[in-house]
């Protein structure tokens, strides 16, 4: 009888030790969430990019916060911005939708950074799914100037960054 009890005591001691290691492992934080920082960096990288900003032809000075409407609306913007913020030949790390609203006329111009990934992951953001395979979004507004040929107009640039988890 004593032998049986001792055997169970040993099993119990092993179980306690294993439980402590499980609890210790669960308490150790190995996942660091950098989503907010990464998405804000992407948003500001887009805003500060030469592919979107007005650049003076003579002195080559970039005017940050002044959006060149011709660049913004062109099809070349989508490929040039992907080369400026390059995440690999198949970019599965970051995407964004950029909406430029002319405050005076009410016109809205839309373009994308990594459009296929944005359209794929935006659905997951709206569904508010969490965990691996899902995505999160962060929308930011900036008051900007819009350079439309020789005209300078007031506008709002909305950057909706979507990053997969």
């Amino acid at each position: 009888m004593d032998d049986i009890l001792n055997f169970f005591r040993i099993i119990f001691a092993i179980f306690v030790f294993y439980s402590i290691t499980l609890v210790a492992n669960a308490a150790i934080k190995e996942k660091i969430d950098v989503f907010e920082t990464e998405s804000r960096l992407l948003t500001h990288s887009l805003l500060l990019s030469k592919d979107i900003s007005h650049v003076d032809d003579e002195i080559k000075r970039q005017y940050i916060g002044t959006i060149d409407l011709e660049k913004f609306s062109s099809e070349e913007f989508k490929s040039s911005i992907l080369n400026s913020i390059y995440y690999g030949s198949v970019n599965s790390e970051a995407s964004a939708k950029l909406e430029l609203e002319d405050i005076e006329s009410g016109d809205v111009y839309t373009t994308y950074y990594n459009e296929p990934l944005y359209k794929e992951k935006k659905v997951l953001v709206e569904a508010k799914l969490i965990g691996e395979g899902a995505a999160r979004g962060l929308s930011t507004n900036f008051y900007v100037l819009i350079k439309d040929k020789d005209n300078i107009k007031k506008g709002v640039l909305t950057v909706d960054a979507v990053l997969p988890n």
């Binding site: 190995e30 990288s45 500060l48 080369n83 390059y86 690999g88």
Partner: protein, 149 residues
Amino acid sequence: MKKRAVLHFSSKKSQVTIRQMLIHIAMAALLLFVVVLMVIYVKSIENDTGFQNIFLSRDIALLMNTLYSAPGNVDYEYSFNKLDLSKFNLQITEYEDDKTPTIRIGAEGMPKNYHYGRNHADTEKYSVAGAKSFRFSKSEGKIKVSRNE
């Protein structure tokens, strides 16, 4: 009649066989062994650099994103007061298959990777080991990584 070895104490109720006493000693030794194992395990967590690898890979990846987005030239020294960076081997590289730019950093054990967004024209790879701090220099849209002497 079979005689059992018995240790005599002052009270009859406290009389135990030698076999029972040996079992108690063995149980105490097992308990001590378990406690020592737990202390060793906790100490190993304290010395584990896995979390530091994860932290540094993300921190340096975000630093690279920041440097690429900054207008003009930038010179930046990356150091840590509470962390000995000379234990870590930093690699600026990319995945073989899809060329995703990657920060790979590791001390003892498995290195950790994290992606970052670079300028497509900047394809240089770097490996820095044994440095107390790293130097990041951005010029004409390209970043150079070296030991900070």
